[in-house]
């Protein structure tokens, strides 16, 4: 790791304003991503991973807002930049792919035009030039016959093709960071693998860092070099992705790893039930005191119910927030 990180998030808090009071939907979020690095955020729905991504790209909308902390992009704080300055980064330097390729594209605009917009917005191109560049962009995401496909509307494309278009849009201006929020959740499994492979290869070629967000620990560990696990609005463990499978440290991570189905387990162990984590994720407005995982944790003691654990650095690298970590 040389020089400043590409993006550095420090003690970020995201507030949810429910009209009468503000509650922290996510807090104490800190992580850094270097140039060209792949970093994953994993957690259940509602753990705060998507809003963290939206905060990074400046797209939080009421009732959500940044309540504190800093986001530094290339060493410069960006969370308080003017709307116009933020727009210069957004799409151009930091791009994002969303979960639903069905609805994330404008249904009444040809896909080529939706790609071309990027060149008009950020590269000062004319529509004519931009339309040409859109064909190239579509070719780069391996869409066959791109010169014809640019005229297609989203409903004429399959889910996988639409997500390729989304990737083409996101990578059009050669961003430094690509945020992929559940990019393959809505796709079927075979297409999933293709899309992930495409995204990873294109980013590797161009030196684009990836922040991948998913509930799928296996998928994230497969794509990313480092993984952070979020639970109830906090990062509970951050590790190299090989380590997190080999020796998960936080009880929640251990539960997640244990609950993954394994090929061949039936042959080895006979028919067994998949392990599950007892209980449910607490609601944002009703987070428990102390460690937020304590009501569901088998190892919880008195201290877990009163004191929120700080970050402990692990010898093997990475950090964990648990009073009793392994």
């Amino acid at each position: 790791m040389t020089g400043a990180p590409l993006i550095e998030v420090e003690d970020l808090r995201i507030d949810l304003d429910d009209g009468s009071r503000r509650v922290a939907a996510a807090e104490g979020i800190s992580f850094r991503i270097d140039r060209g690095e792949t970093f994953g955020l994993v957690g259940e729905s509602g753990c705060g991973k998507s809003i963290t991504a939206l905060a990074l790209i400046g797209l939080l909308r009421q009732p959500l807002s940044i309540g504190g902390g800093t986001i530094r992009f290339e060493g410069r704080e960006i969370q308080h930049l003017s709307a116009a300055k933020q727009r210069q980064l957004r799409g151009n330097r930091i791009a994002m792919i969303f979960q639903e390729p069905m609805t994330a594209l404008n249904p009444v605009s040809p896909v080529g035009r939706q790609i071309a917009e990027m060149f008009v917005l950020h590269k000062g191109k004319s529509w004519r030039e931009a339309d040409k560049l859109a064909v190239e962009a579509l070719a780069s995401v391996r869409v066959p016959a791109p010169e014809r496909r640019v005229k297609d509307y989203p409903h004429q494309l399959s889910g996988g093709m639409r997500q390729r278009v989304m990737i083409a849009i996101a990578l059009a201006c050669g961003p430094d960071l690509l945020i992929a929020d559940e990019p393959t959740t809505a796709l079927d499994v075979t297409v999933q693998a293709e899309i992930i492979e495409l995204m990873r290869n294109l980013c590797a070629e161009r030196g684009t860092a990836i922040l991948m967000i998913s509930h799928d620990l296996g998928l994230v560990a497969n794509v990313c070099r480092r993984v952070a696990v979020m639970y109830a609005g906090r990062i509970v463990e951050e590790r190299g992705s090989a380590d997190i499978f080999r020796a998960p440290s936080h009880p929640y991570t251990r539960g997640l790893v244990a609950s993954l189905p394994r090929l061949g387990s039936r042959a080895a162990l006979g028919r067994t039930r998949l392990t599950e984590i007892a209980g449910v994720v607490p609601a944002i407005t009703n987070f428990p005191g102390g460690c937020r995982f304590n009501p569901r944790c088998g190892q919880a003691t008195d201290i877990c119910r009163t004191v929120a654990p700080g970050a402990d650095l692990l010898e093997a690298g990475g950090l964990v927030r648990c009073h009793h970590h392994a």
Binding site: L59, A104, L105, N106, P107, V108, I169
Partner: protein, 307 residues
């Protein structure tokens, strides 16, 4: 596309027949006839002769059959009152009505749609509040009252515009009736547009557009507008039908020589062929406009294509 148009045209035939039949039945059960509307104490002998002359003494189904047969050849019949062919009467009246309706529509779209857009950009803001006050008032005001107020103000007090009549068909005669007719659709378009834009602003593709680094103005111009048009177009199409109905009141109020006032006069005097003809023309225009709107859908929204 052509086969779609052809099918749609065929589908209008039953609608037209149903309307014709309905009006026919209605006028055979309402009391009174052209004869009784002309004089209260007509000689029964004369009344009978007149009825025979006009074919009114035949049973309803015979009259209906004759009418349909004539209609198929493009003959709308002859007016009881003026002895003119109904087609001729309508031909004279159709242009003023179209003028009135299209001007009212243009006025309401040009004011209402932008008003809705502006209101939606800052919901709850001062512009939004004002626009919605205008919209609610516009929808609530009775047309005949608004017409009288406008006449009083612009014709009587200020003397800027003629108070009624068609005159030479110039624009100054058209303004007051068109505004009177256009206020309520204008209000409706403002509300519909605002609601449509607000809904579209929450769509995923709008978030995508923002993630591209687009300003809100561009988001609206490049992505929201066209999507909102689909919804607005539906409302516009429906309002055409409503305007034809409401034109009757406005035409009567301003003594506008259109289909609407022809219809009212003909109804009052039980001039059945003229009533039939006027209603038929209104229905046909409504169907034609709906067809046009359906075609426009396909132009705006590529997901809608007709095979």
């Amino acid at each position: 596309m052509l086969s779609f148009l052809f099918r749609r045209l065929l589908q209008t035939i039953p609608t037209v027949l149903a309307v014709v039949a309905l009006v026919f039945v209605l006028f055979s059960v309402v009391p009174g006839s052209i004869v009784s509307s002309m004089s209260d104490d007509a000689d029964p002998q004369v009344e009978l002769r007149m009825k025979k002359q006009l074919g009114l003494d035949d049973p309803v189904y015979v009259r209906f059959g004759t009418y349909i047969a004539k209609l198929a050849t493009g003959d709308f019949g002859t007016s009881f009152r003026t002895r003119e062919p109904v087609t001729f009467m309508i031909a004279k009246r159709i242009w003023p009505t179209l003028q009135l309706i299209f001007t009212a529509m243009a006025f309401s779209v040009v004011i209402g749609v932008p008003l809705g857009f502006i209101a939606a950009l800052k919901p709850g803001g001062i512009v939004d509040t004002l626009a919605m006050v205008v919209a609610v008032s516009g929808l609530s005001i009775a047309k005949f009252w608004l017409g009288l107020v406008l006449m009083y103000l612009f014709a009587l007090k200020l003397g800027w515009l003629p108070s009624f009549g068609y005159g030479d068909g110039g624009l100054k005669y058209l303004i007051l009736p068109a505004v009177t007719l256009g206020v309520s659709p204008m209000a409706l378009f403002a509300r519909t547009t605002r609601a449509a834009v607000l809904e579209i602003m929450t769509a995923d593709f709008v978030r995508t557009a923002r993630s591209k680094g687009m300003s809100e103005t561009r988001v609206v111009k490049w992505h929201v507008m066209r999507n909102a048009l689909v919804i607005i177009l539906t409302t516009v199409g429906l309002q055409f039908g409503a305007l034809m109905g409401q034109a009757v009141v406005v035409e009567k109020l301003y003594s506008w020589p259109g289909i609407g006032s022809l219809l009212v006069d003909s109804v009052l005097q039980r001039d059945i062929p003229a009533v039939q003809g006027s209603i038929l023309v209104v229905v046909l225009s409504f169907l034609a406009i709906n067809l046009l709107i359906d075609v426009l859908y396909g132009v705006i929204d590529p997901r809608i294509r007709y095979a």
